[in-house]
């Protein structure tokens, strides 16, 4: 999404291959890696394309959830996990009340939303107390929330929250099982309408939902609220002086992000069909952030195109790296470690670049 309204700047119109390459060096690099990987793995293109579409449909929401906090100057929202937890609360709920299919999906969304709003509000409040350190705080907050989440689902279920269903609860009667079977709502939206285009199956409804979300994000940025986000992203001090209630706007930004993440997690799990109660959410933040960054975003700039390109590249890498690792080193694990390294590494790199730039700016400012 453009953080700048379209303008008729003459400079932007000049087509310049060199600057195009430099400005998009990260996605281009990964494009090369992916193409090489596709060749090495020797996987059929149709298989890869199908996989990409499936993964795009189920991951896109989570990646798009990151954009608004970036625009509002809060950096990469590592607290995305908290949104995913809210989504899983909704999923656990429909499992308990045993409502499947599309009604189950809608019920899960409805039940998770108030939690997501509440968590978003709390996260926003905390991040207002730690301005300038939002990223490390949201990261640790994610870990912390994971502890609370486990406390609720391991200890409170069966004691404080009366759930008896042996299909869900551990044999001792306390705590949820590690894996919840959600077959009864799998593909709830995926299967509504599918198009088979030359052997490539496209789940239309999730793609439509993604388009709708993109449209919504685009809309938000063009409203008064969006203008406030952008103002904060540029200079929180100036925004404050001009009378914008910066704390409130920040809370709204993070709440929107976390709510989208909650819905995104539900869409994700409806495609997978099983909920790993204590693990499904853990890496949501990391994967989404890595995807966004691979698409060419940074700590201070993110567009929708970054999210889409990044998701495609990142998941192509996901599909091919074990096989490519096996072909190259005779060990599929290397491929797996490689993609973990890429996820962490790309995040680390982008944080370093951001901090470095900030440091240099501060230095130049002083001189």
């Amino acid at each position: 999404m453009s953080t700048q309204l379209n303008t008729n700047k003459p400079a932007a119109k000049r087509f310049n291959i060199k600057s195009l390459l430099i400005n998009n060096s990260v996605p281009l690099l990964f494009l090369v890696v992916c193409i090489a990987g596709v060749f090495i793995s020797g996987l059929p293109l149709r298989f890869i394309l199908n996989e990409i579409i499936v993964r795009l449909a189920r991951n896109m929401f989570l990646v798009l959830a990151l954009i608004i906090p970036v625009i509002a100057g809060m950096g990469l929202n590592f607290a995305l996990v908290i949104g995913a937890m809210a989504g899983q609360i909704g999923l656990v709920f429909i499992k308990i009340v045993d409502v499947g299919g599309l009604p189950g999906f809608i019920l899960a969304i409805a039940f998770s939303t108030p939690f997501a709003l509440l968590f978003g509000y709390g996260t926003g409040k905390l991040l207002n107390k730690t301005k300038g350190r939002e990223m490390i705080t949201s990261l640790i907050l994610g870990f912390f929330a994971n502890g609370l989440y486990q406390l609720v689902f391991l200890v409170f279920i069966g004691t404080i929250i009366p759930v008896k269903n042996p299909e869900i609860v551990l044999s001792g009667g306390i705590g949820l099982k590690n894996a919840l079977d959600l077959k009864f709502m799998q593909y709830a939206i995926d299967k509504i309408f599918k198009i088979n285009f030359m052997g490539i199956v496209i789940p239309v409804v999730p793609i439509l939902l993604i388009a709708l979300l993109c449209y919504f994000l685009r809309f938000i940025v063009r409203t008064k609220l969006g203008q406030d986000f952008r103002a904060l992203g540029q200079d929180i001090h100036v925004a404050k002086v001009s009378g914008i209630n910066t704390d409130k706007v920040r809370v709204i930004a993070i709440t929107i992000s976390i709510t989208i993440a909650a819905w995104g997690q539900i869409i994700f799990i409806q495609n997978i069909g099983t909920l790993n109660t204590y693990a499904s959410h853990e890496q949501v933040g990391m994967f989404a952030i890595a995807a966004l960054l691979i698409g060419g975003a940074s700590v201070t700039k993110a567009k929708m195109s970054n999210a889409i390109i990044g998701t495609i590249l990142f998941h192509t890498m996901f599909i091919i790296s074990p096989i490519a690792g096996n072909k190259l080193f005779g060990d599929a694990q290397i491929g797996e470690f490689f993609r973990t390294f890429i996820s962490y590494g790309v995040i680390g790199m982008s944080l370093v670049l951001h901090a470095w730039q900030k440091h240099m700016n501060a230095k130049n400012h002083e001189l």
Binding site: I140, L154, L170, F329, I334, F341, Y344
Partner: protein, 347 residues
């Protein structure tokens, strides 16, 4: 009563007071449950010895002004690598352990230098950068462990004959070497006094270092970089020394940990280790800007005793689920979060 509480908070900070209270309550429950108290004491002491130097590693980093060392895993990796080399060299006993320690130091110095160089360029964002640098290096080294040309059959996978194992048993190498150096029996348990002596020795060295000219300069650089600069102190150099020392202690710390634990753990295991060490020193009363040796010691006692005692006590109350692990996650991350809100924002 309220005033007493307020005074305690002012003096020791929320984390220390609340963790102490939790610990006291757990102890009372443990006594009521008729737990094996001397066993718990021994386990607590083992854990303190194990984790001690990793927590001590936080001190030079905090004091030199680079904040909590979320990238301690870099040092830990150096230590593990040195441990593997020592096994590969087919050493045993003290020789194996101290060779590992000596080998780890040059690795740590080089890695610490690079890490410090980077941190000097990202001032103000050391924690975020450190965290992800640590994460990235742990996953990069995961590939490394698979590819490195180690040959010792004790360490490589039995099948395929390539790549290091996830856990390497040290029972024939240097397991318990410090623990048993001086072991004092107490109602059927052996207290690992040796490791504690080693920890005490390291703490003393650190204490002496902080009283040296360089230590004083480092403290000033961390306390107020602008003051230090105006006093002719090279702030970046002092930060560098702090980071290198911290990385070195991380390497030594993991070897002490491994000897007590009896295994070297590779691959993803160093990933979250810095967090435990950070939580411990924060519980001891340190902040992201101030740390003392006494914070290390009291933090170790409180945090490790809490973890040790909570395990059997909670399991007895609630055998299902892994509640004590949940408590560890909540306490350690909660304490770090609290410290982050206290650093004092840009606003």
């Amino acid at each position: 009563m309220k005033k007493l509480w307020q005074n305690l908070i002012d003096k020791y900070g929320y984390p220390k007071v609340s963790i102490t209270l939790m610990l006291i309550i757990l102890c009372i429950i443990a006594i009521i449950q008729k737990q094996d108290m001397s066993g718990l004491l021994k386990d607590s002491m083992v854990r303190m010895g194990m984790n001690g130097i990793l927590v001590l590693a936080m001190v030079p980093c905090i004091i030199s002004g680079t904040g909590l060392n979320f990238g301690l895993s870099l040092g830990i990796i150096c230590g593990i690598l040195a441990g593997c080399i020592s096994v590969e060299l087919n050493l045993t006993g003290y020789k194996a352990f101290f060779t590992a320690v000596f080998i780890s130091i040059p690795f740590s110095v080089v890695v610490g230098y690079l890490y410090g160089w980077l941190l000097n360029r990202v001032k103000g964002d050391e924690m975020t950068v450190g965290t992800y640098l640590g994460f990235s290096m742990v996953s990069l080294m995961s590939i490394g462990w698979l590819l490195m040309p180690f040959k010792s059959p004790e360490m490589i996978w039995a099948i395929g004959g390539k790549g290091l194992r996830t856990t390497i048993a040290l029972s024939d190498r240097f397991a318990k070497i410090l623990d048993n150096m001086v072991a004092v029996p107490l109602s059927g348990h052996l207290l690992p006094i040796g490791t504690l002596i080693f920890l005490g020795f390291c703490c003393t060295l650190m204490w002496l270092f902080l009283k040296s000219k360089t230590g004083v300069a480092m403290t000033a650089a961390g306390d107020n970089p602008r003051f230090a600069y105006a006093s002719g102190i090279n702030v970046n150099k002092q930060r560098m020394i702090g980071v290198i020392l911290s990385t070195m202690l991380g390497g030594i710390g993991i070897l002490v940990y491994a000897q007590s634990f009896g295994f070297l753990q590779l691959y993803q295991s160093p990933l979250m280790m810095p967090f435990g060490a950070i939580a411990a020193i924060l519980i001891g009363g340190a902040t992201a800007k101030k740390a003392k040796i006494s914070h290390v010691i009291s933090g170790l006692i409180l945090f490790q005793a809490l973890l040790t005692i909570s395990l059997p006590v909670i399991n007895k109350m609630m055998p299902e689920g892994n509640l004590s692990e949940v408590i560890r996650i909540i306490v350690s991350n909660g304490v770090i979060l609290y410290a982050l809100t206290k650093v004092g924002g840009n606003d």
